[in-house]
C-alpha cells in the first residue's frame, strides 16, 4: 500500500489522538508518545500538529517496506 500524502486527515487524527489504533510498528509507537507529549506541552498549535503529522507520514514513508508498517497502513487507510 502506498503512503498517503501529509494532507490526508488521518495523519492529523492520529497525532492528536482523535484516531486511535494499535500500531504494529514499534517505531510508530515510540514516535507517537513523543508527538503526543510535544503537542500537550506545547499547547497543540495547528503548526505543531501539522509538523507532527508530517513527521509521522515521513516515518511511514521511510519504513514502508516493513511488514509491520504495511499492516499499520492497512489499519489506518483500509
Amino acid at each position: 500500500m502506498q503512503v498517503p500524502p501529509t494532507a490526508h486527515p488521518a495523519w492529523t487524527g492520529l497525532v492528536t489522538g482523535k484516531t486511535q489504533i494499535q500500531f504494529s510498528f514499534l517505531g510508530a509507537r515510540m514516535f507517537m508518545v513523543r508527538a503526543q507529549l510535544e503537542l500537550r506541552n506545547g499547547g497543540g498549535t495547528p503548526e505543531m500538529t501539522r509538523k507532527c503529522a508530517e513527521q509521522l507520514r515521513q516515518l511511514f514513508a521511510q519504513n514502508a517496506e516493513c511488514n509491520s508498517v504495511q499492516q499499520d497502513l492497512a489499519k489506518i487507510f483500509g
Binding site: 500500531f23 510508530a28 513523543r34 515521513q58 517496506e65 511488514n67
Partner: protein, 331 residues
C-alpha cells in the same frame, strides 16, 4: 548470522577478514584487538548458547549477516549526540554502544526523543558496563574499531547498509506488565525523583515505596501506545527522600509498578515472537533481568547476546530484551 563467545585470536582473525562485528567483553580483551569494521563495549555477562554466564576469557561476537555492509563508524559526545538519528543511513540502520554513567549516556537517555529524526530509521544498541564487583572502581568503555581506541565519554555508532530487497526492524520483549496499583506521575524528567503524584495526590516517592512495601526489583511501567516501557529502580534513599532510576522518568506519562513475575524464563519463552529465528541480527538483555531472574546457567529460548546496563530500541530502555531482525521487504 553468527553469535558466539570466541577467543581473542579467533576474533582477530575475523577482523582481519573484514567482517562487520559487534563485540562485547572484558576491557583487557577488547584492548588487544586490531583496527577493523567493529565496535565493542565492556561487559563480562552474556546470554550464550549454554545459558547465562560470566566470562572474562572470551569475547561475545555478533557477526553481521551476509549482504550487510558497514558504511561507517561514528563517535558522539554529549555535545553532538543530538545528530545520532539524522546521521543514520537512509537504506539501513545503526547500532549504538554508550558507556554507562557517561555524560553522553545520560544526555541520550534524557533527550533522545527530542532529537531530529527520532525513530525515522532503526537504532538499536546497548549501554556498556562492568562486573558488578568493579562498580565505582572501573569505568565502562566502548571501542571504536576504526582505531581500536577505548572511550569512556563517547558513544560509538556503527552504520550498516542493507542490500536491496531487505528491511531491518527492531522488536522488544518486555515481560513486565502494568499492575492495577496506583498511577504515579512525575513533575519533571530525570533520573531521580522526590515529590510525585500518586493517583493525583502529592507525596514523597521514597516514603510511598517504603510504606507500601513496593518490590523495587520490578520496574515502573508506562504505556507507549500499546508497548510497555520500563524504568528500573536504582536506589531508594529514605533519608534524602529521593528515588534514583536507571532510566529517566518523563512528565506527562502515567507509570504503574509492574506485576510480579514468577518465572522469568517461562514468561520470556512464551513471549518470544514466532518466526524470528532465522532473521535475528542482534539482541541483548538487561543485567537486572539476569540478576533478579537468576539467568546464570539458564537459557532464554535460544536468544543470545550481551547482558547490558541499558538497552536501546530507538531510545534507552530498562529490563527489556531488544532485538533486530533482517527480513525481506514487502513488494
Amino acid at each position: 548470522m553468527s553469535q558466539h563467545l570466541f577467543s581473542v585470536e579467533k576474533v582477530e582473525a575475523l577482523i582481519r577478514r573484514g567482517a562487520g562485528l559487534l563485540l562485547a567483553g572484558d576491557e583487557s580483551l577488547l584492548r588487544r584487538l586490531p583496527p577493523g569494521n567493529w565496535i565493542g563495549g565492556t561487559i563480562p555477562y552474556f546470554m550464550a548458547e549454554g545459558g547465562g554466564c560470566v566470562d572474562h576469557q572470551r569475547i561475545f561476537v555478533n557477526e553481521l549477516p551476509a549482504g550487510l555492509e558497514v558504511t561507517g563508524i561514528r563517535r558522539y559526545g554529549d555535545g553532538d549526540i543530538e545528530r545520532i538519528y539524522s546521521d543514520l543511513p537512509t537504506n539501513g540502520f545503526g547500532v549504538v554502544i554508550a558507556p554507562a554513567s557517561s555524560k553522553v549516556h545520560l544526555s541520550f537517555a534524557l533527550n533522545a526523543p527530542k532529537y531530529d529524526g527520532f525513530a525515522m530509521r532503526p537504532l538499536i544498541g546497548w549501554i556498556s558496563g562492568v562486573h558488578l564487583s568493579e562498580l565505582g572502581r572501573v569505568t565502562p568503555k566502548v571501542f571504536d574499531g576504526n582505531s581500536s581506541e577505548a572511550l569512556d565519554q563517547q558513544a560509538v555508532v556503527m552504520h550498516v547498509a542493507l542490500p536491496p530487497g531487505k528491511v531491518a526492524e527492531i522488536g522488544i520483549l518486555n515481560i513486565f506488565k502494568e499492575s492495577d496499583g496506583p498511577a504515579i506521575t512525575f513533575p519533571t524528567s530525570g533520573f531521580a525523583a522526590s515529590t510525585v503524584e500518586v493517583d493525583g495526590r502529592p507525596c514523597n516517592l521514597a516514603e510511598f515505596i517504603e510504606e507500601s512495601g513496593l518490590d523495587t526489583r520490578a520496574p515502573l511501567v508506562a504505556d507507549y501506545c500499546g508497548t510497555n516501557i520500563n524504568v528500573s529502580f536504582q536506589a531508594v534513599d529514605r533519608a534524602k527522600g529521593e528515588v534514583r532510576f536507571y532510566a529517566p522518568v518523563f512528565p506527562g506519562l502515567r507509570y504503574h509498578h509492574a506485576k510480579p513475575v514468577s518465572d522469568y524464563v517461562a514468561e520470556f519463552a512464551s513471549g518470544l515472537p514466532r518466526g524470528i529465528d532465522g532473521k535475528l541480527a542482534f539482541s541483548c538483555n538487561c543485567i537486572l533481568n539476569y540478576l533478579h531472574s537468576g539467568l546464570e546457567g539458564r537459557s532464554t529460548g535460544g536468544i543470545v547476546g550481551p547482558i547490558t546496563f541499558g538497552e536501546v530500541a530507538y531510545q534507552l530502555l530498562n529490563q527489556t530484551m531488544v532485538y533486530l531482525t533482517i527480513d525481506s521487504a514487502c513488494a
